[in-house]
């Protein structure tokens, strides 16, 4: 007997892999992650629906489907702080706007520091955040334990807490953006890989594994694969993919309110709506420029050692699964936006490191504004590609994972 011997009558739309490819469009977006789909949605919202999103795999196959869902306003650069204030507001309204639950919970982010240097950085960053209107507070280590009773304060000298930061579940964002965009006329092509791009006078001819597409403008939202895509139009990008591993545990009844993080080791851990602890840590990796998604024992041992040191009560909590996702790492920790010199009409939306997901809601909106009514937020100038050559850079240093 086979499991399917029960009655199964499946009537179907064509498999997504076989949805016909259009021949022309106004804007082609390469990359169907949260950034690409978010931009497509926002464009459609502004009436620009002649858009095709080209995703190489299935929805959520890239970093958008692999991250821990953390969303925070605690950053060390003013641009990031202000952008994230807006993004978090958008996250909070997502379920109502899209009719899809994203399980956004504002339990806060608690950062712990173990050295005087970290304390100084923390003080400086909190002051910046407060100036922008973010309610982060410096708190004593003992107060951190009030927030998270399971903490051991071994080596902890300082802490900062913003109650308005939070966690969400990333996958439904993609469905929400994709569904609304498609309903408005945007086409989302899955399993479609762009192999070659001919740069022409009035646009771009994209050659994919499923046919050709002519687009007047192209957006490179391919995350860790964005350097590969940029090379197709002769542009060399300085961002490189870094593997970040992550794991989730058995689901437990809720006990952990904030996301907890230590910048010194890159550890972060939080409890999802399903009750699992989702956690990651920085582990040195050999950087050969390729996107690596394999799992290592070394990640588990490094993470377990640090997590059990920080929260000893978790020793008997069981790991269910480990996986990995790519951070698209730019040299200064800030995104790469705008048109590169010499290729007008080709737009970059990449280099978001480990905060691409959380920035996508606001970035998508800003990009759509730029592409429809030409309104240009200052971030596009601050984050242009040629800043690396001119040396005009400001480093973001509150990076986790």
């Amino acid at each position: 007997m086979r499991p399917l011997d029960a009655v199964v009558d499946v009537k179907r739309a064509p498999p997504r892999r076989d949805v016909p490819m259009p021949e022309r469009c106004e804007i082609a977006i390469i990359g169907g992650g949260v950034m690409g789909l978010g931009i497509a949605y926002q464009l459609a919202k502004r009436g620009l629906t002649d858009v095709v999103v080209l995703e190489r795999g299935y929805l959520a196959e890239g970093a958008s489907g692999r991250n821990g869902g953390g969303v925070r306003m605690q950053w060390s650069t003013e641009t990031n702080v202000r952008l994230m204030q807006q993004s978090i507001a958008l996250c909070a309204g997502f379920a109502e706007e899209f009719g899809i639950n994203v399980w956004f919970r504002q339990g806060g982010y608690l950062f712990l520091g173990r050295s005087e240097e970290e304390r100084r950085k923390m003080e400086r960053n909190v002051e910046l955040q407060n100036r922008c209107g973010v309610p982060t507070k410096l708190i004593a280590p003992d107060d951190a334990r009030d927030l998270v009773p399971e903490l051991s304060l071994d080596g902890v000298v300082c802490a900062a807490y913003n109650p308005k930061d939070g966690v969400l579940f990333p996958w439904p964002f993609l469905w929400g953006y994709a569904q609304k965009a498609e309903a408005a006329g945007v086409r989302v092509q899955l399993y479609t890989d762009v192999k070659r791009i001919d740069v022409e006078k009035a646009g771009f001819q994209l050659h994919t594994n499923r046919g050709q597409l002519h687009a007047r403008r192209v957006i490179n939202a391919a995350g860790a694969w964005s350097p590969e895509v940029a090379r197709l139009v002769g542009v060399e990008l300085p961002n490189r993919p870094h593997r970040h591993e992550i794991l989730s545990t058995e689901p437990l009844k809720p006990f952990l309110k904030p996301m907890v993080s230590l910048l010194s080791s890159g550890l972060y851990f939080s409890q999802s709506m399903r009750g699992e602890i989702v956690t990651g840590i920085t582990v040195p990796d050999h950087d050969d420029g390729t996107v690596k998604l394999g799992s290592r024992l070394r990640f588990l041992t490094t993470l377990a050692k640090e997590l059990v040191r920080v929260a000893p009560r978790l020793a008997d909590v069981k790991i269910l699964r480990q996986w990995a996702g790519p951070y698209d790492v730019s040299p200064d920790g800030r995104p790469i936006l705008g048109e590169p010199a010499g290729v007008p009409g080709f737009f970059l939306a990449c280099g978001f490191v480990g905060h691409g997901f959380m920035m996508a809601p606001v970035m998508a909106k800003l990009y759509a504004e730029l592409l429809t009514d030409g309104e240009k937020h200052p971030v596009f100038d601050e984050c242009r590609l040629d800043r690396f050559a001119s040396g005009d850079i400001q480093r973001e240093d509150m990076i986790l994972g």
């Binding site: 029960a6 379920a95 009719g99 639950n101 919970r105 399971e150 689901p251 009750g275 394999g294």
Partner: protein
């Protein structure tokens, strides 16, 4: 030898070493948990630690597989995820109210106030079990290198290991079950004796054997000191082992599957092989079991159950088809009481105290895949079978044999294991 367990305020006698789930079954405790979303009552299912049906809180630790916990004196067992109790869980109303299902993705997304309240409620309903009471101490991992490692002490694995041992290879077999013998224990007659013979033969060939040792993963990028890259990590009750070998033989067998029919998750719906495993523990699954399926295993099981005095209702899956399991309403949280069948187009109800379903176990091919083996979907052989050449070689230094290459059954699996063990030596 008899031991005493504490189960939710009651004292229960059990045989020492008996799996907790079986001891509770014998004592009449058949509902072991409630499901995450609909709070449907659940009981044991595969009895091999592969299905997630029998998760309980044991000695203050959540989500323990009750079929993998051996009974010892003083063991404390509790059910999870139910209020006030798993026998009568008020949240079971969810299953009744949302009879057609509840799409958690789109429910209650607006208005904002309702959405916020529902989010809070959902968070408190989520999760299986609470934080462990204590933090145990674990030993440091053992690091070892062998000539050959065999994963799985079932018919194929023991035969392969025996061949390797006889060829003079230093061989370790790791097996996750409480006792070695794998699918021999599902054999309806004589299962335990067949297992014991195969184990003795392997040990006589000089093979080392670990039970309660679960192969957790092959990690190609990690390196044990002085070895080529790649380690096999094995979990044992209080510590890990990090192993390397010149040869890896995966004889991981297959996972029992369920069929798709109405209320197929009811306590009392079990894979046919689980009834065989109960027989190997001298336990009869029911007096009036309904046995669904055809083939050699089903015939042997029907005979063995009948010999034990059971009245077996046969459902062949063609002329007579299984439509649904039947029983009392969920609020009373109960074991199956019969089945609804389709007999030549007509609905027919039969009563029974177990529904045993047979289909080919699905190859447990995760480890071979992690270690470089290719798989192919072959439904008639159980699922994604691990592919190998005529010597059983699936990848450099990797061999596969037995049910993981497609369901064979113990006799053929043992022959395949012997051939592959000889080839790998």
């Amino acid at each position: 030898m008899s031991v005493t367990l504490r189960f939710e305020g009651k004292e229960i006698s059990a045989e020492a070493g008996q799996p907790l789930a079986v001891a509770l079954f014998v004592a009449g405790e058949r509902v072991l948990s409630r499901s995450v979303k609909y709070h449907r009552p659940r009981g044991m299912f595969c009895l091999t630690g592969h299905c997630g049906a029998c998760l309980m809180r044991v000695d203050g630790r959540p989500n323990q597989k009750a079929c993998q916990v051996p009974c010892v004196d003083g063991l404390v067992a509790e059910r999870q995820n139910a209020f006030p109790s798993a026998a009568f869980d008020v949240l079971g109303i969810t299953d009744f109210v949302f009879a057609r299902g509840l799409d958690h993705n789109t429910m209650f997304t607006s208005p904002q106030i309702l959405h916020s309240v529902v989010q809070k409620v959902v968070r408190h309903l989520a999760g299986l079990g609470t934080l462990p009471d204590e933090a145990s101490r674990y030993g440091t991992p053992e690091v070892r290198h062998l000539d050959a490692i065999v994963v799985g002490a079932g018919p194929a694995g023991l035969a392969a290991a025996t061949a390797l041992g006889r060829a003079g290879r230093r061989t370790l077999v790791v097996d996750e079950q409480l006792r070695p013998g794998g699918s021999y224990f599902a054999e309806p007659s004589d299962g335990a004796a067949q297992a014991a013979r195969a184990v003795t033969t392997a040990e006589d060939a000089g093979v080392e054997l670990w039970s309660r040792a679960t192969a957790l993963g092959w990690y190609p990028e990690d390196t044990a000191p002085g070895r080529a890259p790649g380690v096999l990590v094995v979990g044992r009750p209080d510590r890990l082992a990090i192993l390397t070998a010149d040869r890896y033989i995966y004889a991981t067998g297959g996972y029992d599957q369920n069929l798709l029919f109405g209320d197929n998750d009811r306590p009392g719906v079990l894979p046919a092989r689980a009834a065989g495993r109960l027989l190997s523990r001298d336990v009869l699954v029911g007096e009036r079991p309904i046995l669904v399926g055809q083939g050699a295993y089903v015939e042997a099981l029907a005979n063995a159950l009948t010999e034990r005095g059971a009245k077996v209702e046969r459902v062949d899956g063609h002329e007579k088809r299984l439509v649904a399991a039947r029983g009392r309403s969920w609020l009373a949280g109960s074991w199956v009481a019969g089945a609804e069948l389709n007999v030549a187009g007509q609905r027919q109800r039969v009563s029974g105290d177990a529904v045993l379903v047979w289909c080919e176990p699905t190859p447990a091919s995760e480890l071979p895949r992690q270690h470089g083996a290719a798989v192919e979907l072959r439904p008639e052989a159980g699922g994604f079978v691990a592919l190998a050449d005529e010597h059983g070689r699936a990848a450099p230094s990797v061999w596969v044999c037995g049910d993981v290459t497609g369901y064979l059954g113990p006799a053929s699996a043992a022959l395949a294991g012997k051939r592959v063990g000889e080839a790998a030596a």
